[in-house]
């Protein structure tokens, strides 16, 4: 589905069903340098079970046009603009990594609109290793290789993708390298690195929040994730064993079960 937001064409996967603004809206937010396809094993379920789904490509990412947004705050405002464009009054946000920061900021700014928040592999702040920032700024492919290493736990490293025959690490690499690293991944990483408001925002959230963490996550540690969930009053926390940062792909079925339970209970269709 294509939308025009801030005068730029935006792409969002609707999970294989036509968008219907009468159904409750779930918005999926990808991490740095990725795109909507990372949600392929969650979106179709919700789209075929009573929800309208928008797995967004952030500006400049995937099939969306325009320039990459440079701050988490701008991204949060952009998400609200997307919701407004759909004529939906409410939405449930699901974010991964950088998408968690966007979700936190958006939920904080628009409590009447955002009804639930699901955070995967996130924390309240995500300082980025300066080596990664430097490699990305120089369009050096090594930044992707390092990120693919750190992003994946045992299932990603050894394989055993939920979709038979597919390769976790090579899929991630293909998505990230499909765009100039300097223009997309680098900008995303700086946005994450510069955002420091997450823990403060988290303290004031009153909506239902779900946190899913991987105990083998090397991009955003288990402790950092727990610190965030502790800061959010009443947050549900699930830790998936032997799982890295890419839990929505590495342990897609487990993530979907947890997500279904939380969203259906707190944002029923």
């Amino acid at each position: 589905m294509k939308l025009t937001v801030n005068n730029e064409e935006v792409f969002a996967s609707t999970g294989g069903r036509p968008f219907d603004k009468k159904k409750p809206l779930i918005i999926f937010l990808h991490g740095s340098g990725f795109d909507h396809t990372v949600w392929m094993l969650q979106t179709r379920y919700f789209a075929f079970h009573g929800y309208s789904v928008l797995a967004l490509d952030l500006p400049g990412h995937g099939l969306s046009k325009g320039k990459c947004l440079t701050s988490i705050e701008d991204m949060a405002e952009w998400v609200k603009n997307v919701i407004d464009k759909t004529d939906c009054k409410e939405a449930s946000l699901v974010g991964h990594s950088q998408g968690c920061l966007i979700g936190l900021e958006c939920a904080s700014r628009y409590p009447r609109t955002i009804k639930t928040l699901s955070l995967m592999g996130g924390s309240g702040s995500m300082p980025v290793n300066p080596i990664l920032l430097d490699l990305a700024a120089n369009d050096n492919r090594k930044v992707v290789d390092l990120m693919m290493d750190w992003c994946h736990g045992p299932s990603g490293q050894f394989g055993t993708h939920s979709i038979p025959g597919m390769s976790h690490i090579n899929i991630g690499s293909a998505i990230m390298t499909s765009k100039p690293l300097k223009e997309i991944l680098c900008v995303d990483l700086h946005a994450c690195n510069n955002y420091t408001n997450g823990f403060e925002v988290a303290k004031n959230l009153t909506l239902p929040v779900l946190t899913i963490l991987g105990d083998k996550d090397r991009m955003c540690s288990l402790n950092a994730g727990k610190k965030l969930s502790t800061a959010i009053k009443g947050s549900d926390v699930y830790v998936i064993k032997n799982c890295g940062h890419m839990m929505h792909l590495e342990e897609a079925d487990k993530v979907l079960v947890i997500l279904k339970k939380f969203i259906i209970a707190n944002f029923p269709s």
């Binding site: 294989g16 994946h152 979709i163 025959g165 597919m166 899929i171």
Partner: protein
């Protein structure tokens, strides 16, 4: 600081498999089953609707075959792979996933005989035609592209004459035309060349050959590079437009870098059914575990045989990238830095008759139609693998009547030389 993801040899042993998810079985189990129990009706519906991954029916996927697919994808640097019953079915699956009636292919004229026949005689029945160009004439590929051309298909080293395609240059021609480059990389295996690193978009293998290496099990595979932009033009509507077979699913929008693999499986494997047997997948996995060791030895033996044949009085010419007069040595070193492969083509003095006598008198080398076995294999293409071609087509493919194709195995090199010397001696004596 370097990434610590697994390197090549580790991948040949471990990619795609975790024992703890398979009852602790250290070896990959053979899931010799046709079908899989559904937890409940919701799960069944979700699997059929591609809402979740998993296994439904072995014609589509199987846990043993999935390990093989993921391992090959990991080795090639691809996003995903679909294994098939044979290399030919992998090529057919690839082309039929992409093409529509009225489409056109540009292909090397030096393709393996089976592929050549598919393009010349079978696909025209579906309204799909091919223009053949000379393997080494890069400009010819460009000139042959028409408005309805949807892909370029080639082999890095042609079968059987060993001509080298300038893959980076031909891939660029394909990309400039907005179409994908398909490479049959059977001769190389991912150990000698990863075609995605040189511009290929889709790679196919006959796994029957060096990947398995034992000559016991048929298999093929299609691997997706994940970087080709199917949406850059309107040439591939079945990839980009809603597909009625799955409730209007757009493969490219939904699955991005694995769109082609998903369509190949959901449509091609489902509707044609060229399924590999789980036992063959297991056998081929055993071969892949020793791929690098075998390929090093294959290449070493081949280089020694090139030296031997080049100096032999019964041999009129030798074609192999390490032969002294090979015309594309520099390009070969660029594309195949780790070894030039174990296929040798040579001309036997005395022409076709000499070739027949020679083949009837080798004892260690096996006269048969396969290549890439651990054992040394020989054949006379003009009377066997390429016998469906008439004289003109053979000439276009650069296959002279005196050509003997040699797939060098892992035997002790002195035993091979002795066998060849003996057969050459009998040939010479008989012709006198």
């Amino acid at each position: 600081m370097d990434p610590k993801t697994f390197k090549f040899n580790t991948k040949t042993l471990h990619s795609g498999y975790q024992p703890e998810k398979n009852a602790g079985s250290r070896a990959v189990p053979i899931y010799q089953t046709t079908s899989y129990m559904f937890e409940d009706t919701d799960t069944a519906a979700a699997l059929y609707n591609l809402e979740k991954g998993g296994h439904v029916y072995t014609r589509l996927t199987n846990p043993t075959i999935a390990v093989l697919e993921e391992r090959v994808a990991a080795l090639e640097g691809g996003t995903g792979a679909v294994a098939t019953a044979s290399g030919m079915s992998a090529i057919f699956l690839t082309l039929m996933t992409m093409l529509e009636t009225g489409d056109h292919i540009v292909a090397s004229s030096s393709l393996y005989g089976g592929t050549s026949n598919l393009l010349r005689f079978t696909l025209p029945k579906f309204g799909i035609n091919t223009t053949f160009v000379k393997q080494r004439d890069t400009e010819e590929y460009k000139k042959a592209i028409q408005k309805n051309t949807k892909c370029i298909l080639g082999e890095i080293l042609s079968n059987p004459i060993n001509e080298l395609m300038n893959l980076p240059a031909v891939a660029k021609i394909a990309h400039d035309a907005g179409i994908p480059m398909i490479v049959d990389s059977t001769y190389q295996t991912p150990y000698l060349c990863r075609p995605f690193d040189h511009g290929a978009d889709l790679v196919v293998h006959s796994l029957t050959k060096w990947m398995g290496g034992h000559g016991t099990s048929m298999g093929g595979v299609l691997i997706e590079g994940g970087k080709f932009n199917w949406q850059q033009n309107d040439k591939f509507p079945s990839m980009t437009k809603p597909y009625e077979g799955y409730h209007g699913l757009s493969f490219t929008e939904e699955f991005g870098p694995i769109a082609f693999s998903m369509k190949a499986r959901a449509e091609g494997m489902h509707n044609f059914g060229p399924t590999m047997s789980p036992t063959n997948a297991f056998n081929i996995l055993q071969g892949i575990e020793t791929l690098s060791l075998r390929m090093d030895k294959h290449c070493l033996n081949a280089d020694l045989m090139v030296e031997f044949l080049s100096a032999h009085e019964s041999v009129s010419w030798v074609s192999h990238p390490n032969a002294s007069d090979y015309p594309d040595k520099e390009l070969a070193n660029k594309i195949l830095p780790g070894g030039k492969g174990s296929m040798i083509a040579f001309g036997i003095k005395g022409g076709k008759q000499a070739g027949e006598i020679f083949l009837n008198n080798v004892q260690l080398a096996s006269h048969l139609a396969n290549v890439g076995d651990a054992k040394t294999l020989v054949i006379h293409p003009a009377s066997t693998t390429h016998s469906q071609m008439d004289e003109r087509t053979l000439e276009l493919a650069g296959i002279p009547q005196d050509l003997v194709r040699l797939s060098v195995g892992l035997e002790d090199i002195e035993d091979l030389k002795n066998d060849f010397n003996n057969a050459f001696r009998i040939t010479k004596k008989t012709l006198k």
